[in-house]
């Protein structure tokens, strides 16, 4: 995967997708719980269209998968390729963050 294409090759759709991946990283969550968790984590309120656009893309790429459930609200969990993609993306963000802090300190 080229880093310039963003996580999972999602390009400009990467940001909501990363937030969804982070949200389901610890345990499966359904759409509503993901939206609430993302808002708590980042202050970003994902609209229903954006949220399900990200969920559909991530599921299409096999980065998340639905968990069988009796509930009408289907929970989603991170898949192994999803965990790998998220780990790679977070490492990249960490490098950028570290470099940014270092440069700011020198400024």
């Amino acid at each position: 995967m080229k880093q310039t294409e963003g996580i999972g090759g999602l390009g400009r759709f990467a940001e909501p997708a990363v937030l969804v991946l982070v949200s389901v990283a610890d345990q499966p969550k359904h759409g509503y719980a993901i939206a609430a968790d993302v808002e708590r984590l980042s202050g970003v309120r994902l609209g229903p269209g954006t949220l399900y656009g990200a969920i559909a893309r991530l599921e299409e790429r096999g980065l998340i998968e639905p968990v069988p459930s009796e509930d009408r609200r289907r929970p989603y969990r991170l898949t192994p390729p999803g965990a790998e993609a998220l780990r790679g993306h977070l490492e990249l963000l960490e490098r950028v963050t570290t470099a940014g802090r270092r440069r700011l300190a020198r400024a």
């Binding site: 939206a35 609209g47 229903p48 269209g49 656009g53 559909a56």
Partner: protein, 162 residues
């Protein structure tokens, strides 16, 4: 607000519609939400058309070119063109029964279009004279016959699998 769900493609609604409706009902209504959903629906439609159909349209165009080529190069004998229309129509009909009319019409169109092109180019090329454009309407018969026979088989297979 629930009516906004109708903006999404049918296949998308079948997959996410129920859970999407729940979260939509829990979202405060407003222009921002409407805009977000409309944008999401547009995005879903774009992704829907990107998948599969593009390959199908490319194949359909290729088959239409073959039909057009046969129409120009086998003018003494209509059988190869009719056979190609039947076979291609059948294949596309089996693949997408609901679009049989569309596939049949697209394949048929290659006959008058290639005929018209030959008429226009007749002064410069010696193609032996393809069938006149109006007479080529008869090519609709093998094109639609093939497409609808394929559609019948396609529907039969789907029903048997269900």
């Amino acid at each position: 607000m629930r009516a906004l769900l109708r903006l999404y493609p049918r296949r998308w609604r079948a997959r996410y519609g129920e859970e999407f409706a729940i979260i939509l009902a829990a979202t405060p209504p407003g222009p921002g939400t409407v805009l977000d959903v409309v944008r999401g629906a547009l995005d879903a439609h774009v992704r829907e058309t990107r998948r599969g159909p593009l390959v199908r349209w490319a194949l359909l165009a290729l088959c239409a070119v073959v039909v057009g080529w046969l129409n120009l190069h086998t003018t003494d004998d209509v059988q190869p063109v009719a056979a190609a229309l039947l076979v291609f129509g059948f294949a596309f009909g089996v693949h997408r029964p609901a679009r049989a009319w569309c596939s049949g019409a697209a394949l048929f169109a290659a006959v008058p279009v290639s005929g018209a092109w030959a008429d226009l180019a007749a002064n410069h090329l010696s193609l032996g004279g393809a069938a006149p454009v109006l007479e080529s309407v008869i090519a609709l018969i093998p094109a639609l016959l093939g497409a609808y026979t394929g559609a019948a088989v396609g529907w039969g297979v789907r029903r048997a699998r269900a």
